[in-house]
Every structure is written in C-alpha cells, then in structure tokens.
C-alpha cells in the first residue's frame, strides 16, 4: 500500500472508463504496431523485388573509345584497349565502404568471345551465388545452376542458336596465356528473360579466368544497393573514393524509384501513427480532465490529510501512465498478431519471418506510459491546484 494504490484502485473502480480508455489507446497502438510490422515486411519485400531487377551501380575500368570512320566506311565505336579490374582488390574495396550494409550484391564479371559450334558467342564468367541474388527473376528452364566450375548456364536464345542441350560440351579455345583451353558442360538452360542474358553462356568466373589466361581479372563489377536509408550518391562517392581511376555508373531511375517507394511507405506510416497517437493523447487528456472535476472531493480529502500538491499531481500522472503501460503491452502483442492477418489478406509473403522482440515491447510500453503521462500533465496540474477548502468546506 502506497500512493500508487490510490491510482490503481481508482482505475479498477472506474473500470468502464479505464477499459474504454485502454481500448481506444490500445487500438491506436495496434494500428501503429501492425502498420509498422506490415510496412517493414512490405518494405523488405519491395527492396527484394527491386533488387531482383538487377544491379544499379556499374563499376568498370576507364577505357578510351574511338569512333572510327574512314573513306565513307564506318567501323563504329572501337575500344583503344581492353582494360581489366583486379577482382579480389575491387570486391574487397567495395566490401569495405562505410555504407556496406546498404550494398546487397557485388557481382564481378569477365566477358570473353568464343566460337561454339561455328557461331560466335559471348561467355560471361560470373560468381553464381552472387548472380542468383542479383538476378532474382532468373528461372532455370532445364537442368539447374552449375554446381561445379566446369558447368555452363546457357541463355535461352544462345542455347537455341548454338543447338545446345543439357550435357553438351562447350569448348573454350581462345586463350591468352599458357593455360590450354577447357571443355565446359551445359548444366542448365535459362528461361527467356528478355535481357542480354538470353544471348550469352554463363560460366564460373574462376574457370573462365583460368582458361582464358586472365587470372583474377574482371571486366566490370555490378553492384546492387539498397537505398531505403541512404542516398545512392553517398555509396557511389564512397566506391569512387576507394577505387580511384575506375568508372562508376549509376542507374538512377531504378535507384530513385526504390528510394521514393520506401520513403513513401515510411512517411505514410509515420503520418498515420502521429494522428493516432495525437487522438489517443487527446482522449487521455480529456478523460483525466473530467476525472479531476469529478474527484474534487477526493483531492480535497487527500490535501486535508497533508498530501502535497506534488503527491496529488503524481496520482493523476500515475493513473494515466498505468493506462499507457497496459495499452502499450496489449497493443503491441495484438498489433503483432494482427499484422500476420493483414499480411495474409494482402497476400504479402515474408510475414513468417517477423520476429517478436521483447525489447521493442518494453520500449513501446514505456513510451506509451510516458506519452499518456504527458497527456495528463494539464489535468494533473489542475488537480494539484485544488485547495481543500474549495472541495470540502460547506460555507
């Protein structure tokens, strides 16, 4: 038994009012928590989808191009020299930038031209584990992703053009070093993607580097950045700083679209949350204010028994804080459960991975207790100002 007993007993005695207040405030918290969870899952899904569209930063060595035309005969753009990047160094440097957490994929590539079954084709050396993350839209129509360095994944158009089937060998004959060429085996054929990948053969980067005598070399590196929390310019700036002398291109359209989408969802949630919180706080304030007027005599008794203004102030704040604390707990748990239902109704995947975080629950309850206490400051101040004479004395 102490001063909090007064607050708790009154809340229990006025259970209808307390329950209504709790219900309204809990509904507010449910909305905020559920919207927050849903927006998180939708945001993450959006990121994944957007990332699946491919890279948004291209890192390549600087090269000189010449547009050759002579005697009325145009040769088009010609590279003065083919330049390479060192794979390990480039990947390590990109991996080491401050905004690494916003970089989801680093996919180095080496492109070589060869002749297979009498037709010219580009063989692209890739790291398949990175490529799978980068090209979420890929579907292997026949076979599977190569599991060994000798495997080849053929683009749909390239396979048709070269007459390649699963298990066919692809000789790589064009080498620049002492290493002899190798025979690669078709392990999978991609479904049409509508991109350049349809026209190429994809092989393990290490293998392509080895057989073409370009160990550790790559032509370019594709980088996929998540930009919900960072400006793309910062990532580009950090890569440029760590890799001086390379050319960095951003596919701004996609990146900016990502940022706009994610920020829009976040702003929407923030606005709705603020409105709900303000409404809830107003209700607590109004309810406490009417309670002060109803309980003038009680306040008078307490003051006549020597309760200080501060003690009376504390009782009203504590009553509001109890509602906030309970609403925070009830609202968080209910919001967490409701978010699964919303995700199911919206047919959004990824809800199963939603973690229940006790620390967030505690933080929500504390923040709500603080907010309701703040909302009751004016009523509590009014209560503390009541003199016993005006409440009790019949003159």
């Amino acid at each position: 038994m102490n001063i909090l007993t007064i607050a708790l007993r009154n809340a229990r005695k006025k259970w209808v009012r307390t329950s209504l207040l709790l219900l309204v405030f809990s509904l507010g918290v449910v909305s905020i928590v559920a919207l927050s969870f849903v927006s998180r899952v939708v945001g993450e899904g959006l990121e994944k989808k957007l990332v699946s569209y491919g890279a948004n930063i291209l890192v390549s060595p600087k090269s000189e191009k010449l547009t050759v035309s002579y005697g009325g005969f145009a040769l088009g753009d010609m590279l003065f020299d083919v330049a390479y990047l060192d794979e390990a160094d480039t990947v390590a440097r990109i991996d080491g930038i401050a905004l690494r957490q916003n970089v989801s994929v680093i996919a180095p590539k080496l492109v070589v031209m060869d002749r297979v079954n009498g037709a010219a084709v580009a063989i692209v050396g890739v790291r398949f584990e990175q490529e799978k993350l980068l090209k979420g839209f890929w579907t292997v129509e026949q076979g599977d992703f190569p599991a060994t360095p000798e495997g080849v994944l053929a683009g749909s158009a390239a396979a048709a053009k070269l007459g390649l089937k699963l298990g066919d060998t692809v000789p790589v004959s064009r080498t620049e070093g002492p290493t002899p060429g190798a025979k690669l085996v078709v392990r999978g054929i991609l479904a049409p993607t509508g991109s350049e990948d349809d026209n190429v053969l994809l092989a393990d980067l290490g293998q392509v580097q080895r057989v073409t005598g370009r160990p550790g070399k790559v032509n370019f590196v594709e980088v996929a950045a998540l930009c919900s929390g960072c400006p793309i310019d910062d990532i580009v700036g950090q890569i440029a700083a760590t890799l001086p002398g390379v050319e960095i291109k951003t596919l701004r359209g996609i990146v900016e679209q990502r940022m706009v989408s994610v920020h829009f969802v976040k702003r929407l949630i923030l606005s709705v949350s603020l409105v709900i919180l303000l409404t809830g706080c107003s209700m607590v304030g109004i309810s406490m204010l009417s309670a002060v007027n109803e309980r003038k005599k009680e306040i008078g008794i307490l003051r006549s028994l020597g309760f200080s203004r501060r003690a009376v102030f504390s009782i009203f704040c504590a009553e509001a804080a109890v509602v906030g604390l309970l609403a925070g707990i009830v609202g968080y748990v209910a919001g967490y459960l409701v978010s699964f239902r919303i995700l199911a109704v919206l047919e959004v995947e990824g809800g199963g991975a939603l973690p229940f975080e006790p620390l967030h629950l505690a933080a929500t309850a504390l923040v709500l207790a603080l907010l309701t206490s703040l909302a009751s400051l004016f009523p509590a101040w009014k209560a503390a100002g009541i003199e016993p004479s005006e409440a009790l004395v019949t003159l």
């Binding site: 038994m1 102490n2 001063i3 909090l4 007993t5 007064i6 007993r9 009154n10 229990r12 005695k13 006025k14 005599k297 009680e298 008078g300 008794i301 307490l302 003051r303 006549s304 028994l305 020597g306 309760f307 200080s308 203004r309 003690a311 003199e387 016993p388 004479s389 009790l392 004395v393 019949t394 003159l395």
Partner: protein, 222 residues
Amino acid sequence: MLEASSITKSFRHDGLTAQALKGVSLTVAPGEFVSIVGRSGSGKSTFVSVLSTLLAPDSGQLLYNGQDLAAASEAEINALRHGDFAVIFQFHYLLPYLTALENTLLPFMRGLKPVSRAQKTRGLECLERVGLADKAMRLPGQLSGGEQQRVAIARALVKDARILFADEPTGSLDSATGSTVMELLGQIHKDGLSVVMVTHNEEYARLAQRVVRMEDGLVVQA
C-alpha cells in the same frame, strides 16, 4: 496551544462580498473540548475551516504552539495537516474505492514508501476502537453512514493528532448513530486529544467543556 485572534474572512460571489468572519478570536487549550454553536450562516464552519488551516483568513493571527500559521510555508501546513491536525466533516468523505482499513491508513500513503506492518496494526487498532475491526476490508459503499463516519474518525486517530476538528460530525446521521459518534468523540477527548466541534445540536454541544456561540460572523458567547 491554538490561538486565533481577530480573524476575518469574506467571500465574493457574483460581485457581492459577504463577510463571514468579522474579527473572531478563540483559544483552545491542550486537551480541551470546545463546541462552536450557532445558526446557519453564523460563520461557525468557516471559522473551524480557518482554525484547521483548510481556509486561509483575510486577516488576523492564528498561532499554533507559538508558530504563526499565516506565515507558515505550504510544506509546514502540509506537515500540520498530516500530523497534529485532524479533520472530520459532516459528510465522511472516504475514498470510495479503498477499503475501511485503507481509508484509515490513507495518511500513511502519501509517497512511494509502502505502509509498514506496524502502521497496518495501528490502523486495525483504530478501527477496533471505533467498533469496526470486523469490517476493515469493506468498501465505504458497504458501510452505513454512521460506520463511514466512524472510519473517518479512525483515520483521524491513526496519525496521533493533537487536535481534532469536527465540522457537524453528526449532521448527516440519525440520533442513535449521532449519539454513538458523540460518545466516541468524548472518549477521544478523555484520551487527551483537543476537540473543536461545530454543531447546531445544543444537546451535543453541552458535552463539551466550553461552548462558543457565534452569530453573524462574531463570537457572542465564549
């Protein structure tokens, strides 16, 4: 012990000023039982409210054990209300959501420090003294008017007050219950507590050692 000199108090209502006390003086000695009687509007309730510090006078001097209460800080007044002074009203004014025992122990619930076991025992003793030990866990709504008034008296007793101010303590009770309450006040006085009681019941007033009669904001018989 308590000395009021030339106390004045007026109230303004709708632009009109009513002079409730017109220079009233009274001295209450330790252990004395004083009754203040008078007709409605004579200023007796206003006077006892001033004496118990629930109402500040416009002018005059109020001394308690030599301390000028007009010049006392709010903390000192709170300490007096919590300690030496106890007030019971015509309407018992119990907190409806606390049990009889909790209402009795209310003076000890001013802070976060929990009520001690000794204080609880004291509360039960006080309830026993007013004949309500068996109803300690009942809420005020489950008690009769007389029982509620006795809980209010137990609440005054629990803190070992020196002066009990009673403003029409039997005003809302039937005569049998009123007599019980008066008997209780008599016992409390015998235990050494000073009692200042406002009443319009002449019979109850005569139970006091001294009867002070008020009329029109003035003491006409001390």
